[in-house]
């Protein structure tokens, strides 16, 4: 399942880059994120909970930064599982920051997600909608962190 989107932030790219690469900022912006721990220079561990109707899931995720080119591109890989449950999730992610003519930043993201196990059965169609909704919440949180309005 491919998830993609973009949004504009009324802040210079260097500042957005710094925030995007700061786990302490991200933990406060990612909806359902309960913690991010840096393991080494390029690896992070995180717990994220999502809820779709009556279904609640908490994932233990490993995020590896595969390559980064400051201040505009991060390629990463996420993999993880749901505690002792059978669901396994993995994704390949691309994040790009572009300067806008107005001096702001256009953030665009793409993720290719695959999911197996109990949640895979539930249908990816709904998860895509949920992902879009969570992305919206993230953007709001992120804008608030940078002190800019929509």
């Amino acid at each position: 399942m491919k998830i993609a989107g973009e949004f504009e932030i009324d802040a210079p790219r260097a500042e957005v880059w710094e925030k995007v690469r700061d786990p302490q900022v991200m933990v406060q912006c990612i909806p359902g994120c309960e913690g991010i721990e840096q393991i080494d220079a390029t690896t992070y561990r995180s717990q994220v909970s999502v809820k779709v109707g009556p279904i609640k899931a908490t994932f233990n995720l490993k995020v590896e930064v595969v390559s980064e080119e400051a201040p505009h591109t991060v390629l990463s890989r996420t993999s993880g599982e749901e505690g002792t449950r059978a669901s396994v999730v993995s994704s390949e992610n691309v994040l790009r920051l572009a300067e806008t003519p107005e001096g702001g930043t256009l953030v665009s993201y793409e993720a290719d997600v695959s999911m197996t196990g109990r949640l895979g059965k539930f249908g990816l169609g709904i998860f895509r909608k949920k992902a879009d909704q969570l992305a919206g919440v993230f953007v709001e949180n992120f804008r608030a962190k940078l002190g800019v309005s929509a």
């Binding site: 779709v52 109707g53 009556p54 709904i126 909608k129 949920k130």
Partner: protein, 279 residues
Amino acid sequence: MTELLFPTTVEEAVALLAAHEDARPIAGGATLVAMRNAGLVESTHLVSLDRIAGLAGIVRLEDGRIRIGAMTKHAETASCEMLSGSLEVLRKAAGMIANRVVRNMGTMGGSVANADPAADYLPALACCDAVLTIAGPGGTREVSILDYVEDWYETALGEGEIITAFTLPAPYAAASSYRKIARVSGDFATASCAMALEADGQGVRVAIGACGPGPIRDPEAEAALCGHLGDPEAVATFAKALADQADPVDDVRGSAEYRLQLIPRLISGVLNDISKETV
């Protein structure tokens, strides 16, 4: 281990749901049991609504309105003669849910609580302007079906609340139709449409199902369509107004694009059914 509890009053059921953190109601179990077996939901306590007096059955109130108890089975709704005229659309929708086994098991409350975007009752109840009665720790309240679904599988139903009944306005003379497009008979809808047209042609209600988190209705567009049902251009404008509010998923039953294409087809289809009924 899950404990199954059998309260005999709504108050008792609400108290049990409040007393146990991981408790949830169980009605017919058609959906909940399958979800538990698939490991999708778990709960320490299941509060069965089965032995609560007065939750099942359909009655006509003194003022002519119809009240359907939350525990009423699809099969009973599908054969209820009181659901006539403007409310017949609900009876038709009930008869198209799944198969006989599921219709004898599943309940209206369970279906609406579950809020599967493709559930047949959602557009049919929206077409009837149904009002839900919800009981919870804070007492009883009423919510219009049009305000009930808030997002994908998210509803106005709060923690520890149960749906107790659906109240429908008194039926009036009308022609109605419910159409659902499904991959195979008995499957959930890929897209569906409920319509009721007043006998004097003065009011038309249309609701689309399975093309967004909740049913789609547009009273303003309905008013504009009224009196122009025979005008293909007016019908196309109306279909476009509803399609513009749709937000369908891409899933095994069809792509989002395909679902959007089904909306005008379904609307022409129900209009065709209704014109046959009114001759």
